[in-house]
Symmetry: C2
Subunit: 223 residues, 2 copies
């Protein structure tokens, strides 16, 4: 596990994150690389879903992963053990990544070598949604044990994402989770959000997420 | 539900949160009021645990609750329906509460009327741990579905809390959660942290949490 690349990113001294993000997207367009920003609460299953997705994507396109955390390299170790090109980003205590921090990660990973780079953002439903990372699309996970009321409490997360994966549907019998309500509340925040019910553990629904990603990558790289 | 008191708090223009927090604790000491700051990820069971605790505490001491969220009043409605004096704090998009925002909530609630005020902080494992709210003690919840690795990834949360409640133990059979590891990792961050395994739903372990709170309140108000 000693070969994990860990990078400590630093916050930009410049203030205009929106401009940084647009510049980064233009660079990624030129490289033919699609950047997907994956956000959720801690423990909703981001890494497990990434493992299930990697199995479906890695044979078809070149995939790189950037794991962002305050501390530890446990997620990068998990992905690397599964044979996925992964770096670990440490945020120096920061609760989110901005576009320049993301750029530092892409430089270390070597984004030009990949069709798709997935950024697993810091586990947090608030701050990551406030900062454009330069990603082409954003997706979020809401796991069944967290409850169906999250779109009411954390509106911006659902407004900024194109895909919501409702994860851990295998444990639906053990929780008071209302599938109709979560759709209603998420669409209240974002009428256009695509919603997939899935279980990263049993791999139910993962094909649909993989297809959405492949179509998104295709659209970005052909355009 | 129209009688929920909702307050929009504003960030302090002053910079010294540490001083604000010490000033607030001195005021609470004078009022004979204990402030408990409850933090966790979104959906780990803060409100459900509060309901189970309120049943045990409200007959013995006077309890007030402040629910903090970016948006909605769903938690305050739940607590109020259960007969607990509760106000809803809206943070104006902020991911945490600082001491002055907490003070605004205490002023609205009327803290001098209570032996114990519990602040349910914004669901977030990162930012709330960085800001002293003026609380006397901090507690955090880690729910079984989130996984036992959280103390590795979010060190400060465990360093700043005196009590960790490992919640949702009723669903242990359905998750790969290692109870020994979570104790090991939490103590790695904070050797003195008290750890209670509980289920707010089945109320297993809730008596122990209630007793810890009662003892803490007693110590604060007699001293």
């Amino acid at each position: 596990m000693s070969d994990i690349r860990i990078i400590e990113v630093k916050q930009s001294v410049f203030e205009d994150n929106g401009k940084d993000a647009d510049r980064l997207r233009a660079r990624l367009k030129g490289e033919g690389t699609f950047l997907l920003n994956l956000m959720s609460s801690p423990g909703s299953g981001k890494t497990t879903l990434l493992l299930a997705l990697a199995k479906r994507l890695c044979g078809k396109i070149k995939v790189g992963v950037m794991e962002a955390d305050i501390d530890s390299a446990v997620d990068a170790e998990t992905m690397t053990a599964a044979g996925v090109d992964t770096i670990q980003i440490h945020t120096g205590g920061m609760c989110h990544l901005d576009a320049d921090m993301t750029r530092q990660g892409l430089d270390t990973l070597g984004s030009e070598r990949y069709d798709l780079v997935i950024l697993e953002n810091v586990g947090n439903l608030v701050c990551p949604a406030e900062f454009d990372t330069g990603s082409v699309k954003n997706m979020t996970i809401l796991s069944v044990p967290e409850g169906h009321d999250k779109p009411l409490k954390y509106p911006l997360m659902y407004e900024t994402c194109q895909l919501l994966v409702v994860n851990k549907v295998d444990v639906l019998p053990y929780f008071d989770f209302d599938c109709d309500k979560v759709v209603e509340y998420a669409r209240m925040r974002n009428p256009d959000i695509r919603i997939v019910f899935a279980s990263a553990k049993t791999e139910e629904g993962v094909d649909e997420v993989a297809e959405w990603i492949l179509e998104s990558v295709k659209e970005w790289t052909k355009g």
